[in-house]
Structures are given as structure tokens and as C-alpha cells.
């Protein structure tokens, strides 16, 4: 019993090392063209070089800034507008059909027009990340606000809560657990849209570096960029998960 438990645990810690070992084996055993599919050791060395030159940190800094700004703007607007559309039928009916029409358009489809509108400025990158995050957070908030337990709202009104305080005191906290699910999904989405944003013409960033490395046939650099994107996105997701367990612990 305890042995089985230990093995279960062990599997968790071995998951990533085993994956890397398999990757290493496939590349170095000559099963594939090692030039096109470099081993993790090669990728690590390439990453190390770009770290030493400082390029990696510039790319990381640029990409993170874009994600943070676009995410913050998208999440803030998504929550604010979601509360309004979810709570007030008039506003909801006015905005929901338009949003449902715009929501399914993949952000990458906006790249050409964003270049026309914003040129190669940072504003365009922020806009694309904002676009991806906004609709995800908006729909989660909209639905969450509509599904807040009506009895809690009744209880609050019976306790003399004035209408203008109802949203802050009951609706928002009541909707928070579901809003946080949307916020967490939006973390991953912000990294997807970051890639689209950086392919839209820029001078630094993780996805930009992948594109440049591709043009120079630096496969190790390319895979290094992919690894960094994965690591960043996963770290952000884990961090957010921990944060939400602290902030909406009652859910």
C-alpha cells in the first residue's frame, strides 16, 4: 500500500526528467535528424549562450511586459463590463450579441489590421493580448454574475443593503470563484496571443526570437524559445492557481 503510494509520488517527480531523457535518447541515438531535432543538451547550451549575451533576458522582459499589460487591461475591462452585462439586462442585451460575434475571432486573424492601425508599436501587441484576455474574462464574469445565488442577494437586501452596495458586497464576491476560473484560463490565452502579437513585427521577445532563429536555421534557439514559452506560461498558471486558492478559498 505504502509502496504503491511512494511510486505514485515518484511518478510525479520523474515525469519531466523521464520526458527529457526520452527526448535525449531519440535525438542522440540517431533515430531522427539531430540537426532538425536537437537533443535537450544542445538546446540547453543554446539557451545558456543567449542568457550570457543578455538577449534571453531582453526577450523575457519584453514578452512579460506585453503579457502583463495586455492581461491587466483585458482582465480589468472584462470584469467591469462583465459585472454590468451580467447584472443589468439592458446593458447585457445591448452588448452580448456584439461580444458573442467578436469573441470567436482568433486574435491572430487581427494581426494584419493591427499592424495597419498601430504600426510596429507596443500598443499593437498590448491590444492583441488584451483582445484575447478580455472576452475570456468577460464571458466568465457575465455568467458568474448571473448565477450568483439569488438567496444570498435576498439575504443581503433583507439586512438593509442599499442597492448601490449590493454589487461590491455580494454580487462580486459571490461571482469571484467563477471569475477566477476565467482569469486563470486567460493566463494561458495571454501567452497564445503573445505569439501572434510578436509575429506581427517587433524587435525583441520570445516568439520573435523563435521566428528569427527559424530564418537563421538555429534549431536549438528555436526549441529554446519554445521551452521558455512553456516554462513561463506554466509558471504563470501555477502561480495564479496558488493565488486563487488564497483569494477565493471558500469555493
Amino acid at each position: 500500500m505504502t509502496l504503491a503510494r511512494t511510486l505514485d509520488r515518484l511518478a510525479l517527480y520523474l515525469s519531466i526528467p523521464l520526458f527529457l531523457a526520452l527526448w535525449q535518447l531519440v535525438s542522440s541515438a540517431g533515430l531522427v535528424n539531430a540537426r532538425l531535432f536537437p537533443a535537450p543538451t544542445v538546446v540547453a547550451v543554446d539557451l545558456w549562450h543567449s542568457a550570457l549575451s543578455g538577449v534571453l533576458f531582453v526577450d523575457l522582459g519584453m514578452s512579460c511586459t506585453r503579457v502583463v499589460i495586455g492581461y491587466a487591461a483585458g482582465a480589468g475591462a472584462g470584469i467591469a463590463i462583465g459585472v454590468l452585462t451580467g447584472r443589468y439586462a439592458l446593458i447585457g442585451n445591448l452588448f452580448t450579441p456584439v461580444f458573442q460575434l467578436l469573441r470567436p475571432i482568433p486574435p491572430i486573424a487581427f494581426v494584419p489590421i493591427v499592424i495597419l492601425w498601430f504600426g510596429l508599436s507596443e500598443l499593437g501587441k498590448w491590444f492583441l493580448v488584451f483582445w484575447g484576455v478580455f472576452f475570456t474574462v468577460w464571458i466568465a464574469t457575465h455568467l458568474a454574475v448571473q448565477r450568483v445565488d439569488d438567496m444570498l442577494i435576498r439575504a443581503a437586501r433583507c439586512l438593509g443593503t442599499p442597492d448601490h452596495r449590493l454589487i461590491r458586497e455580494v454580487v462580486l464576491p459571490g461571482a469571484m470563484p467563477v471569475i477566477f476560473v476565467g482569469l486563470r484560463t486567460a493566463v494561458s490565452i495571454s501567452f497564445y496571443t503573445l505569439v501572434a502579437a510578436e509575429l506581427a513585427g517587433t524587435f525583441a521577445g520570445l516568439a520573435y526570437r523563435i521566428d528569427i532563429a527559424h530564418q537563421n536555421m538555429q534549431i536549438g534557439q528555436m526549441m529554446g524559445g519554445l521551452v521558455m514559452l512553456g516554462v513561463m506560461s506554466a509558471l504563470a498558471d501555477r502561480g495564479f492557481g496558488m493565488l486563487s486558492r488564497r483569494l477565493v478559498w471558500w469555493a
Binding site: D149, M151, L152, R154, A155, A156, R157, C158, L159, G160, T161, P162, R165, E169, V170, P173, M176, V248, W250
Partner: protein, 288 residues
């Protein structure tokens, strides 16, 4: 006998102004009529219901399920506008929900993100009182429902009976004119329910707030109320308004006295007839 209401600690509970103010809380329901739906689908839930509850009285509204008992409370709470008729508390017509009418629901409906103390202090805070003031009020009511020491707990950490005590304390912390209770002990097990009934009477003894207590449990209605108002199956009307001669304070043994059994029998016969009628109505409705 174990007392559920913790003995008042000098300076804590009694610091609250607990002088009975029985001149507040006069509830008048005058020819209330409520229907749901419209056109062919319209169903009369309450038909021509009048009730006058003097300040400080404990009235139990008893009836078979679906008779519109809860609708009466919801109307007084201000959650729905009556089709016709008049509702007033101390002469003021009921327009919308307000702090003067406290409500305790069947489910405790506490705010899960607030501590026990914050839940109880919520009403006073919403009435514009400062936190320190609201907090001291909340603490005194926590003492009254026997929850001192649980200030920092969250609702999910409490048992169902304890949660419902918080619900009662939260409603009372606003010093409402009338306390509306909608089968508050219906979801509790029999032992907890009996304890909660005694605890409730203990608290009521301090305040003599007007109470409208809805239940389908005959024993509960007879044990708690000064009056038992028996309602008919849909549409809801008043079948009987029974005022017994049971002494207060009520002790559990009172259930074995002839007077208790007399009232209980009277209620039982009325409810049984009504339940059968309601059942026939439903089955006929299906067949048609």
C-alpha cells in the same frame, strides 16, 4: 437540563439594550391576494388572506407544502408585490426589502466569504454604523446564540445547526420590528431542531420581537407559537387561527400536557383534510 442559550456573562450580553420594546412590530396583512403567472397559466397562490399580528407576538403559520406559507413571508419581506391587498408593519406599507424586517431562511444563506462575526455585523454595517459599533453588536448577539469563540470561523466550518444560529443572530442584529422565519429548522435533524427551538424561545424571551414562523411541522408550531395560523392548500387561505393556553416559558415536557395535545389534534385534523384535498387537486390536475 442543558441550557442552549449560554448564561449571560455580565457586561457582555447584557451590555446590549435588551429592554423589550413590544410596541414595535405590528404586522397587518389585509385581504392579500397573490397569483403567479399570467393569462391561462395564472395560479392563485394566496387568496383573500388577512392577519393582524400585535407587537411582540409569536405567530406560527402552519400548512401543507405548497400552500403559499412562504409566499406570505416573501410578501411581507418585500420580495414581491401583492396582486391586491395591503401589507403594513407599524402602519408603514411594505414596498421593498428592508432592515426593519429580518428574515431567516430554510438554508442559512450565510456569506461564505465572511467570518461568523462579519456575517452578523453585516446588517448593522449596511445601516451605516461604524465597524467598531457593528462588531460589538455582533459579539453580543453571538453570545446570545451561544457562539462565542467562533468569531473567526467561516460558515463552512460550522454544523448546520450552528450556521442557522448565525442566521438568526444576523437577522436580529438589525433589531428588526419583525422576524420572518421560513422553515428555519426544516433542514436540521430532529435533535438539533428541538434544541434550536428552545434556543430560539430563549432569545425571543429577551427581545419579544414579533415573529412570523412558517413551518409544516405541527409540534413545532404548537410548541413555539402564541398563535397557530393554519392555512389551506392552494389557494392559500386561513382555515383556523388557534390561540392556545400554553404557559411560557415553554419546556419540552409541555408536549405531554392535555392543552398541547388538544391544539395539536385540532391542527392535525385540519392539515390532514387539507393535505388530502391538495393531493386530490394535484392528481385531478394530472388526469385532466
Amino acid at each position: 437540563m442543558l441550557s442552549l442559550v449560554r448564561p449571560a456573562k455580565p457586561g457582555s450580553v447584557s451590555a446590549q439594550p435588551t429592554a423589550p420594546t413590544p410596541r414595535r412590530g405590528h404586522v397587518v396583512i389585509d385581504r392579500l391576494r397573490v397569483s403567479f403567472g399570467a393569462g391561462d397559466q395564472a395560479r392563485v397562490a394566496i387568496d383573500d388572506l388577512s392577519l393582524d399580528v400585535p407587537p411582540g407576538e409569536f405567530v406560527c403559520i402552519l400548512g401543507p407544502s405548497g400552500c403559499g406559507k412562504s409566499t406570505v413571508l416573501n410578501a411581507i419581506a418585500g420580495f414581491m408585490s401583492p396582486g391586491s391587498g395591503r401589507l403594513a408593519v407599524d402602519g408603514e406599507p411594505v414596498a421593498k426589502p428592508g432592515a426593519d424586517r429580518g428574515m431567516v431562511f430554510q438554508q442559512p444563506t450565510l456569506f461564505p466569504w465572511k467570518t461568523v462575526l462579519e456575517n452578523i455585523a453585516f446588517g448593522p454595517l449596511m445601516s451605516g454604523r461604524a465597524w467598531a459599533d457593528a462588531e460589538s453588536t455582533a459579539r453580543s448577539f453571538m453570545g446570545m446564540v451561544g457562539l462565542l469563540g467562533f468569531e473567526k470561523h467561516y460558515p463552512a466550518q460550522l454544523s448546520g445547526g450552528m450556521q442557522q444560529r448565525v442566521g438568526i443572530a444576523r437577522a436580529l442584529a438589525n433589531h428588526p420590528r419583525v422576524l420572518l422565519m421560513d422553515e428555519p429548522f426544516g433542514a436540521l435533524d430532529a435533535q438539533t431542531r428541538a434544541m434550536m427551538q428552545e434556543a430560539l424561545l430563549g432569545i425571543w424571551n429577551e427581545f419579544h420581537t414579533t415573529v412570523l414562523f412558517v413551518t409544516h411541522d405541527i409540534d413545532e408550531a404548537v410548541f413555539l407559537g402564541d398563535r397557530v395560523v393554519v392555512m389551506s392548500a392552494s389557494p392559500g387561505r386561513i382555515l383556523a387561527d388557534i390561540r392556545g393556553e400554553l404557559p411560557r416559558p415553554r419546556v419540552p415536557d409541555i408536549a405531554f400536557t392535555p392543552e398541547f395535545i388538544r391544539i395539536k389534534k385540532q391542527c392535525f385534523d385540519l392539515i390532514r383534510t387539507e393535505s388530502l384535498r391538495a393531493f386530490e387537486q394535484q392528481t385531478q390536475g394530472r388526469g385532466a
